[in-house]
């Protein structure tokens, strides 16, 4: 199930909230678990057992670590079990076909592909459960004693399928708080965030996204240079509003249920370097890689050479995490190169050149999205040539007229205007109630007549 859906809002959520609020405190985590399992199985019933297994493995691994603190060997084996299970299932479902098809290409063999549907959100929840067991192993947190509470954490539907990547430590306290978990303040705030997130996804992302889909249909190499840029701007807005809208809906739903999820996006397109961009984009993923890969590898404490190598590892993995294809690796390496250059001299160079820094960053990000999206490497090359060669092709005139207002709205909403507005008026009901009502009703209208409402994280 996805959030931007009539059934989710007016059936699933409406029922779950009544049950959740009406239930006695001790049953609330159980209700979250059951509701989340239904939510998860809705799109792919067969993967229900995988979710159960995933929960059970990390629960028992962490329990074992907790009980045998003094026995290094046992704790290590338990940790290894969790990692092997999580990475193994992620690898099996997400990457097997990629490797098989490459082996087939390379050796001329014809091993059949598995053609498995990727379990929804597997890249998100395996990272979450792994981080929990590692935290327990490191002694940062005590293992959860109740399997119900733990399942509620793993499966919690608001963040299950597209992040933010919530760590156990983020919500452990609330999970074990029964009375006083839910406050009217939080619900009130949660409603605002959910509706704003819904609007970001349905009204902005879907509205500009159709342009990029059209360009894909036409063929990336057939467009004119202006249309190529118009298209990549549209896609940049689509992926930001789609993803951050989804995260915001998750954070809002979390608050409605009484949990505080970490912020996941912080106006990434106002960045003045790609280094800053990655501090503002998908924050919970970058910090996950920093915490569980980069720092354990030594971070920046072992000299510049080692630091660069560590960055290479992190960015290779970041790229590959986003999808099982060469272009995603290329995308990770692309950012590795930019970040390394920035670390070495570019940041200093750009320091007092505000305009240049922004232009450079936005162009770098736009090229990045082209690499991210276009899986077919020759088509990708063709498209990038189009972007920088000023050549003819399908005219941008029609598409410009059709999309320009949506694109301008998207650009304005990517700046500090939105946060300033929100900070100023968030407690002013005379502004917020009418504004959110309009956004909510318009979003429903677009969902009822949904000609274009993609879920773009199937590859994650």
């Amino acid at each position: 199930m996805i959030f931007s859906n009539i059934f989710f809002i007016f059936r699933f959520l409406a029922v779950v909230l009544i049950l959740y609020y009406a239930a006695p405190y001790k049953y609330k985590n159980g209700i979250i678990t059951i509701a989340s399992l239904i939510f998860y199985s809705w799109g792919e019933v067969k993967y229900f057992p995988i979710m159960l297994a995933s929960t059970a493995v990390d629960f028992f691994a962490s329990q074992t670590i907790e009980r045998h603190r003094d026995n290094k060997k046992i704790t290590r084996i338990a940790l290894a079990c969790s990692m092997i299970f999580n990475l193994g299932s992620l690898f099996f479902f997400k990457y097997t076909d990629f490797f098989i098809s490459n082996i087939n290409n390379f050796f001329g063999t014809s091993i059949p592909l598995l053609k498995l549907t990727l379990p929804l959100g597997i890249s998100f929840y395996t990272f979450q459960t792994m981080s929990y067991t590692i935290d327990v192993y490191w002694g940062k947190v005590k293992a959860e004693d109740s399997i119900i509470n733990f399942s509620a954490y793993v499966t919690m539907f608001p963040q299950l399928i597209a992040g933010p990547i919530v760590r156990y430590t983020d919500i452990a306290a609330k999970l074990n708080t029964y009375e006083g978990r839910i406050t009217l303040d939080d619900i009130n705030e949660g409603i605002k965030l959910f509706i704003l997130g819904l609007g970001k996804k349905v009204l902005i992302a879907n509205n500009v996204g159709a342009l990029w889909t059209d360009i894909e249909t036409m063929g990336f190499a057939s467009v004119s240079t202006p249309l190529a840029w118009l298209g990549i701007v549209a896609y940049s807005l689509q992926i930001y509003f789609d993803f951050s809208g989804y995260s915001l809906m998750a954070i809002g739903l979390g608050k409605i249920l009484g949990f505080d999820f970490p912020q996941n996006f912080n106006l990434p397109y106002i960045s003045k370097s790609t280094t800053e961009f990655w501090r503002r984009w998908h924050i919970t993923l970058s910090s996950w890689f920093r915490e569980y890969v980069y720092i354990p590898l030594g971070g920046n404490r072992k000299g510049l050479k080692r630091q660069i190598l560590n960055m290479l590892v992190v960015w290779f993995l970041t790229g590959f995490w986003h999808g099982a294809d060469w272009n995603f690796m290329l995308w990770g390496l692309y950012y590795f190169i930019l970040l390394a250059l920035e670390k070495m001299f570019l940041l200093d160079f750009l320091k007092n050149k505000k305009v240049l820094a922004r232009v450079y960053t936005l162009i770098a990000i736009a090229v990045g999205w082209a690499i991210f999206y276009i899986t077919d490497l020759p088509a990708l090359g063709g498209f990038i040539v189009k972007m920088f060669s000023f050549s003819g092709g399908v005219s941008a005139v029609y598409f410009f007229k059709n999309y320009i207002i949506s694109i301008i709205v998207g650009i304005l909403c990517s700046t500090t205007l939105t946060t300033k507005f929100y900070d100023k008026f968030k407690d002013n009901n005379l502004v917020m109630i009418p504004l959110l009502t309009v956004i909510f009703l318009l979003s429903i209208a677009y969902l009822v007549d949904s000609t274009y409402n993609p879920f773009i994280y199937f590859r994650f």
């Binding site: 409406a14 509706i195 029609y398 109630i433 007549d449």
Partner: protein
């Protein structure tokens, strides 16, 4: 309890949206279930019957979502709201339909695949070349963007009819292609294409009829010999997709005729007048799209029309010129044309397709079957 209420009163936003969510949810649950959407001219989803098989194929849950969406309370109002919002955003299209000037709508074409066109022209050429003793003509009707060019917004993604017409001209045997585009283009100030539907009007079809008759060396009946009957408030296929709130309905017209059509041994008027009371009014012509039908005329000679729906309002013009007019819609027949030809001994065979159908139609391969 009183305490909670006093607390809640401090959160009007929360109360407002909670009431909104549950009012809509409950009202929706109790709203009557329609089976057909007049607005969209389609059957709405039905509630799925549970089966484990469907559940495990992930079909059951999707069907429940579709059902909820299709039967959502005030569905048509939401659709209009979206349309208004789209128009505020300056959108020039919706759901595969591109808006033009003066209420015209066109099918959206962002990339044309001409492979099927080439295959279709090959099949037709082969058919014609193998039957040198028959008089066979092929007419491709341009769709609205190719004729009403000043109604098309600049650089709109619509079909390139000129390319298709040129391709047909160059690839069909000499003297068999009828290009009706220039003649239609002379009449663009007349009502020759519907705004909300993908067909030409009955008047537009007249000019094609005129040209066809001229091509086979006969005289067309003059336009004023036909009596046109107008039917107001026609909303066509483009509108069913675009559902734009500011639509300008069309006037559907047909020529008076008491000709009879025989479909599956049942003989009736060539018009199904009952269709004039429903949304899909164009379906009155030839009573829809029969696979094979025969019309008794009061002229001379026999003609076979192999066609798509563009021919439906064209055929009635032929009634006074031929003694027998047969129509074949290849989608609904399984054998080739030879049996029909041998049985009836047609003097003329006309293929009549429009420029958009010919790009995707996969049934023309059947004409060379036995």
């Amino acid at each position: 309890m009183k305490n909670i209420w006093n607390n809640i009163k401090k959160y009007p936003l929360l109360v407002f949206f909670a009431v909104l969510l549950y009012t809509i949810s409950i009202a929706d649950l109790f709203s009557p279930v329609e089976t057909f959407s007049e607005l969209e001219n389609r059957k709405l989803a039905t509630f799925p019957k549970f089966s484990w098989q469907q559940l495990f194929d992930n079909e059951y849950t999707i069907k429940i979502e579709d059902f909820t969406e299709d039967h959502f309370i005030l569905r048509d109002k939401w659709i209009s709201l979206k349309s208004i919002s789209e128009s505020v955003l300056g959108k020039k299209e919706n759901n595969g339909v591109v808006y033009g000037k003066d209420g015209y709508m066109f099918t959206k074409f962002i990339s044309a695949d001409y492979n099927q066109l080439a295959k279709n022209m090959d099949n037709v050429s082969k058919f014609i070349n193998n039957r040198p003793d028959l008089d066979i003509k092929f007419m491709l009707a341009p769709t609205a963007p190719g004729v009403m060019t000043d109604k098309v917004l600049e650089k709109s993604p619509v079909v390139d009819t000129q390319y298709i017409l040129d391709y047909a001209q160059n690839n069909l045997p000499e003297g068999t292609f009828i290009n009706v585009q220039p003649r239609l283009a002379e009449h663009t100030d007349e009502y020759i294409y519907y705004r909300t539907d993908h067909h030409w009007t009955t008047l537009g079809a007249y000019y094609a009829y005129e040209q066809f008759m001229q091509t086979i060396g006969r005289q067309a009946q003059p336009l004023d010999s036909f009596t046109f009957v107008d039917v107001e408030n026609f909303l066509g296929t483009h509108y069913s997709k675009a559902k734009n709130y500011n639509v300008q309905p069309d006037v559907l017209s047909y020529i008076e005729s008491d000709a009879q059509i025989t479909i599956n041994d049942v003989t009736d008027s060539i018009y199904d007048y009952s269709k004039l009371d429903v949304r899909d009014k164009y379906a009155m012509f030839l009573r829809g799209n029969p696979g094979y039908a025969t019309i008794k005329g009061n002229g001379e000679g026999k003609v076979l029309i192999v066609k798509d729906s563009y021919a439906n309002c064209f055929v009635p013009y032929l009634v006074n010129d031929f003694e027998q007019i047969d129509v074949i819609d290849l989608r609904y027949i399984t054998m080739g044309l030879d049996r029909f030809i041998q049985e009836n001994g047609y003097e003329h065979i006309l293929f009549l397709y429009n420029c958009e159908t010919i790009l995707t139609d996969e049934n023309l391969v059947k004409i060379n079957l036995f």
